[in-house]
Symmetry: C2
Subunit: 127 residues, 2 copies
DNA sequence: TCTTGACTTGGAGTTAACTCCAAGTTATAG
DNA sequence: CTATAACTTGGAGTTAACTCCAAGTCAAGA
């Protein structure tokens, strides 16, 4: 369950640049990479999964700092034990739901535009 | 249909800071503000609507530059005339749909976490 | 043995999106 | 008339998230 990828390989697999991967390690978004005898980093498919998670979360507009406790969570087991993390997740969930709604509104707006080409009115809510 | 707000007022109404509003004008995200005799900016409720649109689009992770043709669109009438803008909108639509799906996956992940607290597997797609 | 290529490091540079500041102008209230 | 508050400008500074670079190490092939 650990396919031993070089940084170049995991870079291609994950879509993140080598620099970005090292940067993520530096800011502790990724755990310190395992090293070969010569000091070179190597990665497992679990690492790839984490990178995919990061990519996915970034698409939702989450900042790297916001992700940290979240990523920690993905490896730890039981949240129930940590009420802080639990409520953090809850509020994240709500944020994302708001975001999805916002995007659906924009989607509607676009669909209208693509059909008719009318202006916009009070369709958009402030804050 | 133009309630004549000062920059301070529109700032409170829109949630954007005065500096940000001037910045948006500088980078041409907002049209040049109308001026009173003394040179002070003033705004209408249409301006407020545009600002709300910007806020809404930002929530979806769109960059200010990406928004520009979009905002232009919101005031112009018929897109059908401009095939460039039309396809731009189309691809934006698809991007947003992908984003929504990504967020729904994360939402599921969170929901699972909140209940059981299990690890994550191949649930997340790369790129 | 020498060269090539894949990696290592620390640190500097870049871009987007603000955010702050100093210096100046104008309108109103006391 | 003067102080205060609300605005103006241009430009400098900040933060996040990279991105690039120079100098060095190490292993394998000609």
């Amino acid at each position: 369950m650990s396919d031993n990828f070089t940084i170049k390989e995991i870079s291609k697999l994950s879509g993140l640049s080598e620099d970005t991967i090292r940067y993520y390690e530096k800011i502790q978004l990724l755990p310190p990479a395992k090293r070969k005898d010569n000091g070179h980093r190597f990665y497992s498919s679990t690492d790839k999964d984490i990178m995919s998670l990061i990519t996915c979360m970034k698409k939702t507009g989450m900042s790297l700092n916001e992700m940290k406790p979240f990523l920690f969570l993905s490896q730890e087991g039981d949240i129930q034990l940590d009420p802080n993390l639990y409520s953090l997740l809850q509020s994240h969930k709500e944020k994302i739901e708001v975001q999805i709604k916002g995007m659906q509104i924009i989607l509607e707006f676009i669909n209208n535009k693509l059909k008719k080409g009318e202006g916009f009115g009070k369709t958009f809510y402030a804050e």
